[in-house]
Amino acid sequence: MNLPRILELLQEVLPVARLEVQTMPIDEHSITLPPDNLHAAVRALLERSHVYHLSTITGQDVDGQIELLYHFWEGGGLTLRTSLPREQTSVETITDLIPGASFYEREIAEMLQVTFVGHPNLQRLLLPDDWTGGPPLRYEFTLPDDREEGE
């Protein structure tokens, strides 16, 4: 996976001046993108580079924002990182480019209440149908007996 080629490729597609690239342990590079041209970036990756394998999408609630990490794999790890505001969190789906992402998006939709615009069937994947406790992975969700464990 030659990183410079991919960076230059993304540079053309994205209006952002300079792409910040972080290296993370075990051979991983992460690039931060604004959410609305995520779809264009993934399309560019698929069409003009050898990267095709989306390992998974990680959603997390970190310092006031919902952050989505798209982990790709091509000889080494490549992560596209976007962060969304907490209120109306919505981002364009990539199931039209990578059908394999449908389950990951459904899971994040129910765990962090992120609406994926254009997802074919955005139903519940893991949580039971009669679940009323709100998105479990959000910051304000507390476990039934969330006493400080681990002493």
Binding site: P25, I26, H53, L126, F141
Partner: protein
């Protein structure tokens, strides 16, 4: 009777060891459509692990899935060790990889037995599981546990192999290799098994790419992806892994790929044991992990396993994302079942080596 009927392969069904709700709409004997509902085994591990310390999480991540428990803790420990910047001694890495490969053998033999039982071939189930007992004996001798071994600690492995154990394990490995080879021979020349699995659940390489399928299911369609060779984690740097590939892409090819992988894993086990370096097996690890993120990957028996760990400096992880390989093959089941006979639904479902506990977390 070409009326449309929906058959529930419900949560409680002899075909499934674990609960998974599957509704198949059938016209006559042909499957027309299928819907899948997960969540029966969802225990909320990713939320639960945020309330436990790193050391307690070892105990928790070992029980994400009972069959591939060692690979889960391997990936988790690798990630935390990368965050801590710890260097695991080579002997520890070798023993960790030895258990990974033994678990692959036990998982593939288990799968072979379950496939045999699901197509009504009780004898293969009995033979495969009888031979698998030897693999469980070796793991029990190494770690004290048959299924969950809790060998991994952050910083290495808590077990060690003495000389007496060494010779008994090597002899058991040889015995196991002969049996697995005989089993592979029986499968290859068994007509009814071939007739029941050939041409069913075909996945083209393009579909494998689109659905990002991993593991033996991908390798059976000719997509050459194996993290043991590409990622060189644990002790795979010292080993040369030749990857079992097939091109037919149906359940028969998957059977062949898994059987050959089991034999390859046994060869790797022997190579690891013979080349076991001297020295300590683990390194002390501090309680608190410096803030940072890590994405650690490993090759579970069913494919690529991914752990994303983010720590905020305390002794509890801020976020752990687990992506297990079964999720990718579950997405493809809908396409595999198009136009299949109802009798073959059990072959397709067991062809992708379902591990619902992995998929649901």
């Amino acid at each position: 009777m070409s009326n449309r009927m929906t058959i529930p392969i419900g949560p409680q069904h002899p075909l499934l060891k674990e609960p998974l709700s599957f509704m198949i709409t059938v016209e006559g004997e042909r499957v027309v459509d299928s819907t899948l509902r997960l969540g029966y085994v969802h225990r909320g591990i990713e939320r639960l692990c945020q309330t436990k310390t790193y050391v307690q999480n070892l105990h928790l991540f070992e029980r994400v899935c009972g069959i591939c428990s060692h690979v889960h803790t391997t990936t988790y420990c690798q990630g935390v060790e990368a965050l801590l910047g710890l260097e695991v001694p080579p002997r520890g890495l070798h023993l960790r990889t030895l258990l990974c490969e033994l678990e692959r053998v036990h998982s593939h033999l288990l799968w072979l037995g379950v496939l045999g039982e699901n197509i009504g071939f009780q004898t293969i189930f009995m033979y495969a599981w009888r031979d698998r007992e030897i693999a469980l004996d070796i793991m029990e001798e190494l770690s004290g546990g048959r299924v969950t071994h809790s060998c991994n600690v952050i910083g290495g492995v808590r077990i060690d192999v003495g000389d007496a154990q060494f010779s008994s394990i090597v002899s058991q490995l040889n015995d196991l290799e002969q049996r697995v080879e005989k089993l592979l021979d029986v499968i290859q020349h068994e007509r009814t098994l071939r007739v029941r699995t050939q041409g069913i659940g075909y996945l083209s390489p393009e579909k494998i790419r689109n659905y990002c399928v991993v593991g033996p299911v991908a390798r059976a369609s000719g997509v050459d992806v194996d993290l043991r060779r590409d990622c060189k984690y644990a002790a795979y740097g010292w080993l040369h892994v030749n990857v079992a590939l097939a091109h037919e892409g149906d359940v028969w090819a998957r059977t062949m790929v898994r059987a050959r992988e089991a034999i390859e894993s046994l060869r790797l086990c022997r190579q690891l044991l013979v080349g076991l370096p001297e020295g300590p097996t683990q390194v002390r690890a501090p309680r608190r992990v410096p803030p940072g993120e890590v994405v650690s990957r490993a090759e579970a028996p069913r494919g690529e396993l991914l752990y994303y760990i983010r720590s905020d400096g305390s002794d509890k992880p801020a976020r752990v994302k687990i992506r297990t390989p079964t999720l990718t093959s579950l997405i493809t089941v809908h396409d595999q079942l198009e136009g299949v006979e109802t009798a073959d639904v059990s072959v397709v479902l067991s062809g992708i080596d379902l591990c619902i506990a992995c998929a649901d977390r």
